[in-house]
Symmetry: C2
Subunit: 376 residues, 2 copies
């Protein structure tokens, strides 16, 4: 049961449904436990210590971060096993080294011979061990070296003898573009097979490869084998969003994140409802644009969180949202009076979360505030 929030609430504001968050996190933990593979949740979606504790089901544990600021914040809150999953550059090594010297077991990521050599030089010069995972490209999506490439072995030859080869990692980001569960499972197979091949080739070259890390919410939840994989990274599953619902990875009713907005006016002739929830509150993300159901800038719910079928945010300016029926039918001002609070489910939880500094956490009749840490 959701509290029915009246116009006493400040809007726009980011709401987090605690029972849904708990259920989503339990689902991932149960799924991976069934495959006997470890979870290293990615904190980039929630950027919240409280959410991460629920994801881990423990006060602390291994995490993945997208910025050194996240690493520093979580380390200051008792997290010691941290993978910084964006390619390291020489200019960021001193910040990573400071974490290591303070007691953080930070692991880096790289995918070029230049970065590997720079890391080896830095560690020798500074007398420090900053292990790195080699990023592997298993889907042609973004970064990483091919699992069958000579470059992989070249990087291994730099890192291995220096004691800096932490393992291998990959991210099947292209799974977000899947058209079916079978598609997602195919990406999951490709992700696993690619990373295992990369690990085997490095081992055949004489290197220890302790960590074999994969991760994306679709492949983590839909994958049927994790043989040879040591850990799974994922983040958006904690909240889910309309993109994930469009992929069939979750139901719309699993989405734990929403933006509360207030009706501020109407355009009667067009059947539009105008709200104070623009792109500043929702983000500019249009991740469902290429999916079978385009949710505009978000799907509209009533103040209790119940979906109003077929009603979406069709346009967004900075502090104005335009709500209309997806089929072009007019909305009645009587149904959406000035002052009515609505909740918008996001296309992309990472992007919508990033527009806010914290969460109003809803747990039945009880609410509390949790902070996010943004920036770099």
């Amino acid at each position: 049961m959701q509290p029915d929030l009246s116009d006493s609430i400040e809007t726009p504001q980011l709401f987090l449904d605690l029972p849904r968050l708990r259920a989503n996190c339990q689902r991932m933990r149960s799924h991976l436990a069934g495959h006997a593979v470890a979870l290293r949740p990615h904190v980039k979606t929630a950027k919240s210590v409280e959410v991460t504790r629920i994801a881990l089901g423990a006060d602390t544990g291994p995490i993945t971060v997208s910025t050194l600021k996240e690493a520093e914040h979580f380390f200051s809150r008792g997290y010691r096993d941290i993978l910084y999953a964006v390619g390291i550059v020489p200019g960021k090594l001193q910040r990573a080294a400071a974490l290591k010297r303070a007691g953080c077991e930070i692991k880096l990521v790289l995918d070029t011979a230049v970065a590997a050599a720079a890391l080896a030089d830095f560690c020798a010069r500074e007398d420090i061990v900053l292990p790195a995972l080699v990023e592997i490209d298993t889907d042609g999506h973004r970064a990483g070296v091919a699992p069958d490439s000579q470059l992989l072995l070249d990087i291994g030859a730099v890192l291995g003898p220096a004691g800096l080869l932490g393992g291998v990692m990959t991210h099947a980001g292209n799974s977000y573009n899947s058209q079916s569960t079978a598609d997602i499972q195919a990406w999951a197979r490709r992700e696993r097979e690619g990373i295992v091949l990369a690990a085997e080739r490095l081992r055949a070259a004489g290197h220890a490869v302790p960590v074999v890390s994969v991760g994306s919410t679709p492949t983590a939840l839909m994958g049927t084998s994790f043989a040879g994989v040591t850990e799974v990274r994922a983040g958006v599953y904690m909240f889910f969003d309309l993109v994930m619902a469009g992929l069939g990875v979750c139901a719309v009713d699993d989405i734990a994140l929403s933006v509360a907005t207030t009706v501020i006016g109407h355009q009667d002739e067009k059947g539009w409802v105008i709200t104070d929830g623009g792109w500043m509150a929702l983000s500019r993300d249009r991740g469902t644009q290429k999916q079978a159901v385009d949710q505009g800038y978000g799907l509209v719910c009533d103040a209790s969180g119940k979906v109003l079928p077929g009603i979406v945010v069709v346009d967004a300016n900075q502090e104005h949202g335009v709500i209309a029926a997806r089929d072009g039918g007019a909305l009645s001002p009587t149904d959406f009076p000035v002052g009515r609070v609505l909740r918008i489910l996001p296309n992309h939880a990472c992007a919508t979360g990033a527009q806010h500094r914290g969460y109003l956490v809803l747990d039945g009749d009880h609410t509390q505030h949790w902070e996010r840490i943004n920036g770099w």
Copy 2:
């Protein structure tokens, strides 16, 4: 001359070119002075007291805000004449009243009979005067009542006798979709004629209409007549961006805002350069997508701010940018080594700015930090 920033800079980071900011602000002030119309800059783009001082050419003056948080922040820094330009709802009246009681001459905006009645009731009950401008729809873009509507007179009949009719305002947001300078000038004419008609109809009904307010950066800069208009609101002109350059309102070299990023890797076979500047730093805004030249997620410059023609951010993940040639040609890793700093010009300055907490302000060899205030 721009400083040539080496890899000593922390990235991603938001840069603000002070000479360009000053020139852009001077251009608007000179243009409006020539038309003898007042400027009420919109602080929603910069969200910075320091930038607003340059826009006004004075320590304080009239401003437009998009959130009550901006109003509270600027009032605390000495700004007393503030227009809150998003439709007011009953739930926000207490915050506005607190500003008024503290000495702020805050003006509100509304466009429904319900909001007008709620405001009149509130002011009578609280014994306070919170004047409101009636928002006029002059372009079919978003909010506002038609200038020739009965609703306008109905709202006037509620606000006028209560001493709450501050005037009329409009925003020609559709000017952003113009295809030519002539198009922009047509929107400017329509904006001016609509708002003047609305003011005249209210005056004919016996109401005083002291404020007649228009504004959008394209119509403000391209408008050729402001007869009957008392003030102009605009914000993005301070920084400009690629959308404005695509409209011909500014040159690319006028853009004062950029995001510094570092090369973190390559995809040699695809000719891609991977950076640490993803959508978290650039925003998800794709405002140039429908223009003649699609700038992707931004146009790439070298570390000194010089445009690298035809090189754009073609894709953006949360903390990864993918840079490529617009014509599909491959970029050479030799030209973009790991660690190289690049600067990205934004599609939409409001959206990109919102991803950051402050500016690294560049003024020749001198740099300083200015804060932004985000949130609500």
